[in-house]
Amino acid sequence: MRVRCRRLVPLVLVGMLAVGTAAGAAPWVPSADPVPGFLPEATPVRVRAPDVRISDLAAIVEDQPIALAGGKRSPGGTVMLRFARIELDQVTLDQNRAGFTLAITDGGSGSKAASIGGTGGTVELWGVLRSLRICLSAGCTDVRPLVPLLPSLIASGRLPKVIRGEDLDIDIYALRAKAPAGDFGLRLPGGRVTVTGR
């Protein structure tokens, strides 16, 4: 059954794409904002969460390397994602450096989960995806082979408003979140920040 579901999800997406293409979907237009608007640190932050919920996915673009501190650039496999909000259950953000580890964690889930962005807000991130399984009606499947299909699906408007995902593991080089006035773009209700020498 699991193998059948894995094969069904890509077929469902291709079907959605065919319908969307027939309907004359509009192409995605890149943002006019500077990319990403600040100089990121050269070492990415690794973000992991067993369950996530992405709202209003607006863009996913492959091969978007960005400039980093020290004259470096992120890898060629850097993808840019744009969405309104993401909720992350039991999230960990960590960065291992020579001599120490920085960790930002939040053990909350569901209504107490950490979140980035908000309704009416915009989150943009540049990172290298290690793993993410997206869950649609036909089951859950690895998103990485499907990335080339997603821009057209997004433009067609046929993706769910909230996409559930599993096993998120991504190296984020830069993240920028803008929330509506009076709201918060980053929430860690049960947050913990540690710096540990190694």
Binding site: E41, L175, L188
Partner: protein, 207 residues
């Protein structure tokens, strides 16, 4: 020590460290001018806890730094938290040390008991922490993994280590903060009701 009564508030003004032995473990500077306190606390040894029910403010930054500690000034990594203009809901700092083989606690407290108020005004707050737990909310434009050397507290660099992690946001709200800190700097600490500085025998904790 000299006591000064201002209105209905009794202030105990401490101009220097209270005992030579304690001076080896703590550098505490308190200065008072025109009703405001400048607080600088550097822990040379022992553990230091900071507890506050809440912090709100703007010009928020977090940056990894290498802070010298101990008599040998060995550099140890920490997360530096900066708030440009903010308010605090109650404050407690507990520094536990062993002096001459006996435990003592330097306890600094202030604030009212009302959770609805952020009664203590703080500007240019800087904390160097190794462990902090809180309900964290950052607003405005939030930038994550910013080069730490570029992270600002207002118009001033936070002093982050180049090529290290940084986070920048325009506003911040922290609730139920419990932190293990190395350094605390509050150049402008105002309106602190019930302010006390005590040296207590034994191992004490913030409530």
């Amino acid at each position: 020590m000299r006591e000064e009564v201002v209105g209905v508030t009794r202030w105990r003004v401490v101009a220097a460290v209270l005992a030579p032995a304690l001076a080896a473990a703590t550098i505490l500077g308190l200065a008072m001018a025109k009703g405001a306190l400048a607080l600088s606390f550097v822990a040379q040894s022992g553990s230091v806890d900071l507890v506050t029910a809440g912090v709100t403010g703007d010009q928020f930054g977090v940056a990894v730094v290498s802070a010298p500690v101990g008599a040998d000034r060995r550099k140890v990594p920490a997360a530096r938290i900066g708030v440009g203009s903010g308010r605090i809901d109650g404050l407690c700092i507990a520094h536990r040390v062993d002096l001459l083989g006996r435990p003592f606690t330097l306890l600094i407290t202030g604030g009212d008991a009302d959770r609805a108020t952020h009664e203590i005004a703080v500007d240019r707050l800087v904390l160097d922490v190794t462990d902090v737990r809180a309900d964290i909310a950052a607003g405005g434009e939030v930038q994550v993994n910013k080069n730490a050397a570029d992270v600002l507290r207002g118009a001033v660099e936070l002093g982050g280590t180049r090529d290290s992690f940084g986070l920048q946001a325009q506003t911040v709200r922290l609730r139920d903060v419990r932190a293990t800190v190395r350094d605390i700097v509050i150049p402008d600490l105002r309106d602190v009701p019930n302010f006390r500085v005590e040296i207590l025998a034994g191992t004490r904790s913030c409530p």
